[in-house]
Amino acid sequence: MTTTHRPAPRRGVFDEPYWRYAAAGELRVQRCAACGGLRYPPGPSCPECLSAEHEWAALSGRGSLLAWTVFHRQYFPGVPVPYIVAAVRTAEGPILIGNIVGAAASDLTHEMPLTALFEDVTTADGPLRICQWTHPDDRPHREEQA
């Protein structure tokens, strides 16, 4: 993957902690303090019980491949094609989006296990650490583990 000038994330009021944890190499999502439900993207209250109380729970970084697409049309100068975007069903439940690194599209199968890793990229707003996914056996050693 490129490391130059990816689009910066949209940072709503509730997104800040997610990105702060990511910068520290931690994958965390909101967990409802009342019912324990996990939610992503971050939001003001629990869709299950409407409680606003929450904590930021660490995910295991394990998941499986729900779906993917290979981009052939380039929408961003800093993200050259082709690249793979995947929807990953985490072991804890929430679905996260990321790029697949260290694997070709032809290597992918639905439900294959994936492991989170963090990649340092730059955006127009400055450096950013984003959560990516790779096959457990193919994790590049240069990358920091989740």
């Binding site: 994330p9 729900l66 929408y75 961003f76 993200v79 975007v85």
Partner: protein
């Protein structure tokens, strides 16, 4: 719970009595040559003039106005020189619903639904950091750091999963684009009229795999207008009336941004609920539909709708798509104007016009013989809506 007694009070009480569209191929040609001589309001006004003439009504008869999503209501009323007693703004299907409710309740008697869009010459972006719709659909832009934006990419993710789960092949999916192109070739007002066969489809480049160029809708300029009034008034008019017989809607918004309803359920629960309501209200079922119009920003909408609304069993859609049944002369004609893929991308507004033309038997070379009932199905990011129209007097 759905109160079908109340819902059925609305059945067949409002009618579409006038339709108008702009000249899509001519405007597309001008846009391709870099000419820009019209804006969204210009297209809207051109379509409105035609719809009004088609209805036989006078402008002073119109007392309600619904502006399409790209138009501001105040400016539209100013451009059309109309002061009304009821107005709103809506997408295609909500425009019809809102007009029907306004007319049924008596807050308006004759409502003009007017759409105009200069999305091609105006350079509307459907992907990238400012993707159209991002303010209403968080998923369209939320994942930009990973290079994921655009409705097309989200439907490509859905298609990737859907093909794996259902066994639908890319070749079978290609049957959608091929059938709609065949209809477009019979429609002089369709933008894409070159022949398209399955080999050319499969040779088309991927945009977001597994979706190819021909799985994506056009982006073209144009306008659409419809005139809606009471069924009683419609009966006194010269034009054949087209009655609104059924309405169904179901939203699937929970976990929308995480894409779960899209990727795990293919929006089926919402499709089933909308189907149950629209058929119950109309007192009809899928087998009684002579013509189908399906919102088709992407080809994959078509199999989802066909399965979700009971036109085939789950898992059987591949055979149906590749059979030719959806194309000209087939038993289940879908998107008979060419749809968004080959006809004109008017965000569902043109589909309503095509329902009317088919039910009035005015569709010339692409006419479905004896069409009495037509159904529209739209599913935009899990907001599933369906309308059933029938020809008055049948």
């Amino acid at each position: 719970m759905v109160d079908f007694a109340r819902l059925s009070a609305l059945r067949d009480t409002v009618a579409i009595v006038g339709v108008g569209e702009t000249d899509y191929p001519q405007d597309y040609g001008r846009a391709r040559r870099g000419e820009r001589c019209q804006d969204a309001y210009g297209y809207a006004a051109a379509a409105f003039r035609r719809a009004l003439a088609d209805s036989g009504l006078e402008r002073r008869d119109i007392d309600g106005l619904v502006a399409g999503p790209a138009l501001a209501g105040e400016r539209l009323g100013e451009v059309l020189g109309m002061d009304v007693r009821w107005a709103d703004q809506a997408d295609a299907v909500q425009a019809v619903l809102k007009a029907a409710m306004a007319i049924h309740s008596g807050v308006a008697e004759c409502v003009a639904l007017v759409y105009g869009n200069d999305q091609r010459t105006g350079g509307t972006a459907y992907g990238g950091p400012n993707a159209m719709g991002g303010e209403r659909h968080l998923a369209y832009t939320y994942y930009a750091p990973w290079g994921l934006t655009s409705q097309g990419a989200l439907y490509a993710l859905l298609a990737n999963r859907y093909l794996a789960v259902t066994g639908l092949s890319e070749r079978e999916l290609g049957g959608v684009a091929v059938a709609q192109r065949a209809f477009a070739r019979l429609n002089p007002n369709a933008v894409m009229r070159r022949p398209l066969d399955i080999d050319e489809y499969l040779n088309g480049r991927y945009i977001c795999e597994p979706l190819r160029l021909f799985d994506y809708c056009l982006v073209n300029d144009g306008g659409v207008a419809l005139i809606v009034t009471t069924a009683e008034r419609a009966r006194r008019m010269d034009r054949p009336a087209v009655l609104l017989s059924g309405i169904g809607r179901s939203d699937h918004n929970r976990e929308a941004t995480s894409l779960r309803p899209r990727l795990e359920y293919f929006y089926r629960p919402a499709q089933r609920q909308a189907a149950d309501q629209v058929y119950a209200m109309a007192g009809m079922g899928p087998s009684e539909m002579d013509v189908l119009q399906i919102y088709d920003s992407f080809s994959i909408h078509v199999p989802l709708a066909l399965e979700g609304f009971g036109f085939c069993a789950d898992g059987a859609v591949g055979k149906l798509l590749s059979s030719g049944d959806l194309g000209p002369g087939g038993p289940l004609p879908v998107n008979t104007s060419g749809g968004h893929l080959s006809g004109s991308y008017m965000q569902g507004w043109g589909h309503q016009v095509e329902c009317v033309r088919q039910l009035r038997a005015e569709a010339a070379g692409r006419q479905v013989p004896g069409a009495r009932n037509a159904q529209y199905i739209s599913d935009v990011a899990g907001k599933v809506t369906s309308l059933i129209y029938r020809r008055a007097g049948t």
